[in-house]
Amino acid sequence: MSQDIIAPMQRTKSRTSLRGLVPWVVFAAVLLLLPVFFQGNSTAFTLLNVIGINIVFALSYNMLLGQGGMLSFGHAVFFGLGSYAAMHAMIAIDEASYAGEGFWAHVPVLGMPLVGMIAGGLVALVLGWPFCRRAGTAFAMITLGLGEMVAAAGQMFPSLFGGEAGIYGNRMVGPQWFGLELAQSSDVYWFIAFWTFAGVFAMWAFTRTPLGRMSNAVRDNPDRLQFIGYPPRNVRFMIFIAAGSFGGLAGGMAAVNYEIITPEALGLIPSGLALLMAAVGGLGVFYGPIVGAVVVTLMNSMLSDYTDASILYVGLVFLAIVMFAPRGLGGGIEQVRVAWRDGDLGRRLPGWLSGALAVGLIIVGLVVLIELAFQATHGSDEFAHVFGVDFDAAGPWGWLTVVVLLVAGGLIKRATNKLREDQA
């Protein structure tokens, strides 16, 4: 019996040593090749930098929620305080490099994420113990309170947090390493790329440690964990510290990228952003939050250029994923990957494709509907513009299009369901 369990485990182990490297090589190659595609496009680099920061932030959040089963509404506290620590360090470097002496004069700005990481970890160490007694609702409520408390304190101590205007620094100070001047966002990209890679790798490595395994156990069955001699509270506390550290790491990256940090970064909205990214990407897959960070960042920064209802769309995407695809976008990718590995893809692909077509049609229909409704209620110009087509909310054609799209989508969805049933 025990032989049966051990044998497959050994097989996966030998496989990870070889195949396990592939995603990392791909990841590194993508990071190295991205600048080639976006040469001279500062907006793209600025967005890539934000995406990098958000990837680390979302993954650190998923250490709590996805792997440890602790729903937190206060994760931005670690991000923000890490960012503040890094910013204060950057200011110290700035001042010390004028004098040219002292400890800070020899610290490169490239190392700021480590300062953020230490700060985030320390904050979690100090605050975490009383929080980690319980998971679930109690933990969620306590972290919500923590977030609000720290955000309020941020506004009340202007000497440390800079008041509403925040504190700001300059990243072009101190010793330069690797010739990185950090003047343009394309320079900063290399800094962000390095720390994103390092952060993602370290967080993946964490899932392979005994503590990482234990965090899944505390999520799935804390009682049994207690029973075999691991107090769940200790395990949660250690996960909390680790997640806080990596949240601080992301904060340190943000300090260098934005060169400003305001108390808003500590509040509920950025904490909610972490939850949003992790949930959209998928909590159950390691790389889910990465996908989520990319999608949510792009939606946040780009969508409002095209529509006045951008916030509504972000909400709808979140809602749709929680309701219809609880495993998130990453879960979907994982499903395809598993099917491909098992040689099952050819059989299942037609069903998936027609399902995707149905969902696509329904989405387009909904988008047209929202834009028409928005235009009819408080539109600023005559037409609702959707995908380059003008729809007039006063006439019947736009609304008819919505009905046709939704009905077509619905019919294809039904046909797909039948196809899948026949296959099964």
Partner: protein, 408 residues
């Protein structure tokens, strides 16, 4: 999927705007980086409407140095970090004039980012035109050659409010109620300092801070005001904090004047309505009487066209930019900035001067009070602010500690 949709959409947009532009001279483009979606869009959208409305009129008069003015909105969701992303987008889109107003946190982020951008890209400078972030330090210790402020800062407004209080011997007890964050504290501190100088006999009977945007029931604060026997209340509250405060004061029959910075925030008049009449006082760049028939006409036209009220200082800002461009004979930011320094302009509200020393607009200020049955009501109601006092620019002026570093 989403990305492909974006691409398709972007391409079509480019085509459309390209067609429209081909006929005219190269436009000069201004980016408005402000909240344009979500709950805070009520403070960004009126500025966007006003800018587009004014640009249309100025373009008929020949635009800025012959170039048509174009306004592009960038939504920052009033978040400082997001604003920096939007700033980069605007710069990449070839825009060299950045307009922003709401939130000193955003203002602070843009100020330091634009300073650094101009330092790091000396061939590609950007100007920051600030129409509402009134943190005093922006034109004092943090002053910058690239930043121009078109609104009076906190201390200038407080200076006039306290002058008005000091001249009125009936006022003996002042109550300060503010939001518990840096802006609220700035308001309270400068009120206490100036009142002490001008009228040492006035007693500050209360100095209360309440959480920002979280109080649903102001009755405990109102009963505190009532029991303190205050004759006048000063508040920097904005958004729902001013609405609920005024409503609560009306319900408890507190009839003392409430001197506000933001009693005219869009939505406030509709929500406060009758309860604010003779109670809400406003210190601002203009009043709601619209004595100037031309401005009154524009107020009517703008409300009809876009559904927002006239925003005098935003209009004046764009008019001054046109004047500076025309005078410089250029739309190049550095040349425009140099002309803008010391530029004088006669707007509806009075004579405006952009002080070269710190880039703080020197402007007259008006104290007005909410009245019913006004000829030109705000927000489609019959209420608007009626002028009760006017302060000249040289009265409202304050010295600066700015030591500006100028480009060569």
């Amino acid at each position: 999927m989403l990305k492909a949709v974006f691409k398709l959409f972007a391409v079509s947009l480019c085509l459309l705007s390209g067609l429209a532009r081909a006929a005219e001279a190269e436009p000069v483009r201004f980016a408005l980086i402000d909240p344009l979606t979500g709950p805070m869009s009520v403070v960004g959208q009126p500025a966007l409407a006003q800018l587009q409305f004014t640009a249309e009129r100025l373009n008929k008069e020949g635009g800025m140095d012959g170039h048509p003015i174009e306004i592009v909105g960038y939504d920052n969701k009033i978040n400082p970090q997001e604003s920096l992303v939007q700033l980069q987008k605007a710069i990449d889109d070839g825009i060299r004039y950045i307009i922003q107003g709401n939130g000193s946190s955003v203002g602070s982020a843009l100020l330091s980012a634009i300073n650094k951008h101009n330092q790091r890209n000396p061939d590609d400078r950007v100007l920051y035109l600030n129409y509402a972030a009134i943190e005093p330090s922006f034109t004092n210790e943090r002053c910058s050659f690239w930043h121009f402020r078109f609104d009076a800062h906190v201390d200038m407004k407080m200076n006039m409010l306290t002058d008005w209080i000091a001249e009125n011997p009936d006022f003996k007890k002042v109550f300060l109620i503010n939001q518990d964050y840096s802006f609220g504290h700035t308001v309270s501190e400068s009120a206490m300092r100036m009142l002490k100088e001008k009228r040492p006999d006035i007693e500050i009977v209360g100095n209360t801070f309440h959480p920002l945007g979280k109080v649903k029931d102001f009755s405990p604060y109102i009963s505190k005001i009532k029991s303190s026997g205050a004759d006048v209340v000063i508040t920097g509250n904005w958004g729902q904090d001013i609405n609920l405060l005024i409503k609560s004061a009306a319900e408890y029959g507190v009839d003392v004047p409430f001197l506000t910075y933001y009693g005219s925030t869009p939505g406030t008049i509709t929500q406060v309505g009758d309860k604010g009449v003779d109670r809400v006082y406003l210190i601002a760049e203009y009043h709601g009487d619209f004595t100037d028939p031309e401005i009154a006409e524009r107020q009517v036209a703008l409300y009809k066209e876009k559904g927002w009220d006239y925003y005098p200082r935003v209009a004046a800002m764009l008019e001054m930019m046109k004047a500076a461009g025309d005078k410089a004979g250029s739309i190049e930011p550095l040349a425009v900035a140099k002309t803008l320094e010391g530029l004088e302009y006669d707007a509806a509200a009075g004579h405006l001067t952009m002080r070269a020393e710190d880039h703080q607009l020197q402007m007259p200020l008006y104290l007005s009070v909410l009245k019913d049955n006004m000829k030109h009501g705000a927000e489609g109601t019959d209420y608007n602010f009626h002028q009760i006092a006017r302060f000249d620019a040289d009265q409202a002026t304050l010295p600066t500690t700015c030591r500006m570093r100028r480009p060569d």
